[in-house]
């Protein structure tokens, strides 16, 4: 896939999203891959809040707002319904945030993967409940402050490894991505769309408001996350994990932390410890 080959059609426009919202960008790029033959289920979260106030309807494809915990269950129902109607060609897509995926939605996601219907579940991961005002989620990384983990009470548990969790369900395809690597992300969406079963993609979407950086740096922050090793671009298929992109130049995690406000309470020793932890990691799936 090359940039010049990406569809010029815009199928999502005029949301109420913040300026520089990488979640909105992830949705825009997803639609560029999947096109008009797709339907979206969006639970409570940033995307539903900025996309679903009557009469506003920025999705140019069919979409429904779903209860916070219910995204993946709706995907099963819709997919089963389309199967009955002989419309398995339609992409059934869930587009949920990190809280809607790793916390309140994890039960339904687990159940839906088990049910085995064809769907693409995309988690736009901005590492906290941003829509409600930056509260800690299961995908908030160690060391970050949020309004429920403020100051010295920063998040003291590691980010939940959703990729491994869905992989352990025996899911046919799963991947991590980052919005700063759009072709890698779109290639993964395309790959998922061709799988006849449940698929999962978790895309890191830096949030200017929640992470504390200027809106124009959203892409830069995502790049720094990958170059520092705080986020890895992986795929899980045929029972194996592999890396889809290895940054040529490694970046100290301290630089990534300094580029945003949510890590600023960490002491140099704590940053050092995080750096050591990153350096000690093996290949994906090996731990």
């Amino acid at each position: 896939m090359k940039l010049k080959e990406v569809s010029k059609e815009e199928l999502y426009r005029c949301s109420y999203g913040c300026a520089g919202c990488a979640s909105v960008l992830a949705l825009r790029l997803t639609l560029k891959v999947l096109g008009e033959n797709s339907v979206f289920v969006v639970p409570a979260g940033c995307i539903s809040t900025v996309s679903a106030y009557y009469p506003q309807a920025p999705f140019f494809v069919p979409m429904t707002v779903m209860a916070f915990a219910a995204t993946a269950a709706a995907l099963s129902g819709i997919s089963a319904g389309f199967k009955r109607r002989g419309r398995e060609d339609i992409h059934v897509v869930g587009f949920a945030g990190d809280g809607g995926t790793a916390d309140i939605g994890i039960q339904a996601l687990s159940g839906a993967i088990d049910c085995g219907y064809k769907f693409i579940y995309i988690c736009y991961d901005n590492e906290a409940y941003m829509n409600t005002g930056i509260q800690r989620s299961g995908l908030t990384p160690y060391g970050a402050t949020t309004t429920t983990t403020p100051g010295r009470c920063f998040e003291n548990r590691p980010k939940k490894d959703m990729l491994r969790i869905v992989a352990d369900h025996g899911i046919p395809y799963a991947a991590t991505a980052c919005i700063s690597y759009p072709l890698d992300f779109m290639r993964k969406v395309e790959k998922a769309s061709k799988i006849n079963g449940p698929t999962y993609i978790q895309v890191l979407v830096p949030c200017p408001t929640g992470w504390g950086f200027a809106p124009d740096r959203a892409i830069e922050l995502g790049r720094m996350a990958v170059e520092s090793g705080m986020w890895n671009l992986l795929e899980f298929e045929n029972g194996e994990f592999h890396t889809t992109y290895t940054p040529r130049h490694k970046r100290p995690v301290a630089e990534y932390f300094e580029a945003q406000t949510r890590f600023r309470q960490l002491s140099p020793e704590q940053v050092e410890a995080i750096q050591r932890e990153i350096d000690s990691r093996g290949a994906p799936g090996s731990s």
Binding site: L3, E10, R13, S15, C18, G20, Q56, A57, E220
Partner: protein
């Protein structure tokens, strides 16, 4: 639409407000555009289009929220964020 369909439903693509009014600064092309399309792909709002004939990008200020990602990511630094012209919509 609500006459025929009960419940909270709206025709896809209904955009009563163009979000360009949100921005206080707008991108303008001042330097050499090498038509790499990075600004286009990274624009959250889909507010950038491609002028294939002139091999440059165009900004739709009706949709631009002025985040500045395009200027930041432009490898040739051809995009500047500027105050919108007086009297212009948005």
């Amino acid at each position: 639409m609500r006459e025929s369909i009960p419940g909270p439903v709206s025709k896809a693509g209904t955009v009563p407000t163009k979000m360009g009014s949100w921005s206080t600064i707008k991108p303008v092309l001042e330097g050499k555009c090498n038509f790499c399309l990075l600004c286009w792909i990274f624009c959250p709002e889909g507010a950038i289009s491609q002028d294939e004939a002139d091999r440059k990008v165009l900004f739709d200020h009706d949709y631009c929220k002025g985040c500045g990602i395009c200027a930041k990511e432009c490898p040739t630094k051809a995009i500047q964020m500027a105050e919108p012209e007086a009297g212009r919509a948005g």
